[in-house]
């Protein structure tokens, strides 16, 4: 035994280490522990992602069942006979094609209005100098903090009673052309990051202030404009209280109002149709989001970090 130990001392460099010691040392090493940490984090992240996606998958699953199939216990996870015709039924039970058209008209109009107005207004705040400019910008920020409830009642009275815009999209669309504080803030921050040399070069070439805005700043700010367009479109696609207040005739309803039509008392709500229609309502936003997530997330992050 002694000569075996002696042999080990002579033939190996460094301290005597048994294989058990070596295993323990590797388990404690930083690279292994951080590898384990990363793997565990990944597993948790995947589990969480599945839980997040599950409701949407469940929405799809429910939409493909029969009216009473949705009530089966234990529930069918993937329906055996997908009832694709649910979709055509749900969307014709109520005139969803009309609601869809209305919602597109509304969301796109507002998006255009906000894009035009906010980019011009933000340009003024970011690039043009004038007395009182910064105080006015503080006022813009202040309006962001005002809860909407303080203004909805007089706005309703103004639009419906004074202007007579009853059952109309005008109260919903017209204000968009006058700017929106949050988007003005976002664009102004972005514009302030554009190098001033562009402006000066344009000025030297004879551009007035508005040509500079239209021909130089706007094209340069496509990412920010993209973020504004997407935020505006998505927000107004999903909005509920505005249309609820100002639209009364069924044929003018947006999708968010139209979805309510599926409600029936005493548990008679046709969930298979409701889920089908909900999925259709939600789908455009999801698609837009997938194609534009970079702009979207960028917009959120900019206002979140600087806020």
């Amino acid at each position: 035994m002694a000569d075996q130990v002696a042999e080990r001392i002579v033939t190996r460099r460094g301290p005597i280490v048994s294989s058990w010691e070596r295993l323990k040392r590797r388990l404690k090493s930083k690279s292994f522990r951080s590898g384990v940490a990363t793997t565990m984090a990944t597993i948790l992240a995947i589990a969480g992602a599945l839980m997040i996606l599950f409701p949407i998958a469940w929405m799809l699953s429910t939409s493909l069942k029969t009216k009473f199939g949705v009530f089966k216990i234990p529930p069918e996870w993937i329906p055996m006979n997908p009832q694709w015709h649910n979709y055509s039924e749900a969307l014709t039970f109520n005139p969803f094609h009309i609601y869809f058209k209305n919602t597109i008209f509304y969301a796109v109009s507002v998006m255009i209005g906000e894009l035009l107005s906010c980019s011009l207004i933000a340009y003024g705040f970011a690039r043009l100098r004038a007395p009182g400019r910064d105080k006015l910008f503080l006022a813009v920020l202040a309006t962001m903090m005002l809860p909407a409830q303080v203004t909805i009642i007089p706005r309703y009275i103004f639009f419906v009673r004074v202007l007579g815009w009853r059952d109309s999209y005008k109260p919903l669309i017209v204000p968009a052309f006058f700017g929106s504080a949050y988007l003005i803030f976002l664009l102004r921050q972005f514009y302030m990051g554009i190098s001033k040399e562009m402006d000066e070069a344009a000025r030297i070439d004879g551009c007035g202030y508005f040509s500079t805005w239209w021909r130089i700043i706007l094209p340069l700010s496509k990412p920010a404009l993209g973020a504004v367009a997407i935020l505006s479109f998505m927000w107004h696609w999903n909005t509920f209280m505005g249309p609820l207040l100002y639209l009364s005739s069924n044929k003018k309803y947006t999708l968010s109002l139209g979805l309510q039509m599926f409600r029936a008392p005493f548990g008679g709500t046709p969930f298979h149709w409701l889920m089908a229609a909900s999925l259709v309502t939600v789908l455009p936003c999801v698609i837009v989001f997938f194609f534009t997530q970079r702009y979207f997330i960028q917009g959120i992050v900019i206002t979140g970090l600087k806020g």
């Binding site: 009530f71 043009l128 303080v150 309510q260 309502t281 970090l305």
Partner: protein
């Protein structure tokens, strides 16, 4: 051409720029006057009147402070405050903890970060009526998937037979608001993205130095990460609190518009809406709206004041 530009007197150039500025701002000025400042003043005045426009033209009747006196004795108003505060107390802290944990998790060099970000952010993109209906279905007491899972796990014939039955959620007075909180947690991707971005702004050398000094993961989080992202947490806390005080759509949809069962989902803004547009008590509703404004303002200022000792702000000039 450049020489010519310098020859033009300062005053004239400045005046043209000022004019251009006010011209470019004009939509905002007009809009704010008509759609913000005007209405704010009008609603303040309205709050002192009784104004119930039905058919035909009626003028507001001056009431002085009577609306405010009525409001103090209105049981429904107090109930609505209670519902709203209950929801806020549950949803905001839980939301922050959940989103922050998720952000920290994803920040561990997880592969495919952008895919995870997309997936977790997805629910925030589809807010609104469809989501409310979806969760009404998921939290359906008899047929919803959540109660089924509860039954399978801890029900009378479940894996661990504890005899626990899933609550009646939106049909129960006690579980309606918690149900809404669960629904709101689905949207934790929104704040998470902001936290993730700010986490990635924490300089790594700080962590390395701490590790060398012997700090473990929790100590690193508590003494480096948390202080450095505390301004962002404050931001999401305040915006989350303001948002939860203004909950309307979910409450309207899941209760069918009446704030039930037994006012368990009568959120404050829902109550304002009902008073203004169902009962046509617009003066009273305006008073309610102004109270909400003061409450939100007070809470925001309180949060800012209370947080001063807890928030670490970098020295000015270091970050911009």
């Amino acid at each position: 051409m450049g020489v010519l530009a310098r020859v033009i007197p300062e005053g004239k150039q400045a005046r043209r720029e000022t004019l251009a500025f006010y011209f470019s701002i004009s939509p905002w000025i007009i809009g704010t006057l008509f759609f913000t400042i005007g209405p704010v003043i009008a609603s303040l005045l309205l709050s002192f009147t009784k104004y119930s426009p039905g058919v035909g033209f009626k003028l507001p009747v001056w009431l002085g402070l009577e609306n405010y006196q009525t409001l103090i004795h209105d049981r429904i108003v107090w109930k609505s405050l209670q519902v709203t505060v209950y929801y806020t107390i549950l949803a905001v802290p839980l939301g922050i903890v959940a989103s922050l944990s998720l952000a920290v998790l994803l920040n561990q060099d997880v592969p495919g970060l952008s895919i995870f970000r997309t997936i977790y952010y997805l629910p925030s993109v589809i807010t609104g009526v469809a989501v409310s209906f979806l969760w009404m279905w998921i939290l359906n007491p008899q047929f919803g998937i959540i109660n089924y899972v509860i039954a399978v796990l801890v029900g009378p014939s479940g894996i661990i037979p504890l005899g626990i039955q899933g609550p009646k959620w939106f049909f129960s007075e006690q579980w309606a608001v918690p149900g809404l909180v669960v629904m709101s947690l689905w949207g934790l991707g929104g704040p998470m993205i902001i936290y993730l971005a700010s986490l990635q702004g924490v300089p790594t050398p700080l962590y390395d130095a701490a590790t060398i000094d012997g700090a473990n993961a929790w100590q690193r989080f508590r003494h480096i990460t948390l202080p450095l992202i505390s301004p962002v947490i404050l931001f999401t806390f305040i915006t989350g609190m303001i948002g939860s005080f203004q909950v309307f759509t979910q409450a309207y949809i899941i209760s069918g518009g009446d704030g039930g069962p037994n006012y368990a989902t009568m959120f404050y803004v829902l109550n304002i809406f009902m008073n203004a547009f169902r009962f046509y008590r617009m003066g009273y509703a305006s008073a309610l709206a102004w109270i909400l404004f003061w409450i939100i303002l007070a809470l925001t200022l309180l949060s800012l004041r209370a947080s001063r000792r807890m928030i670490y702000y970098e020295a000015p000039g270091e970050r911009r």
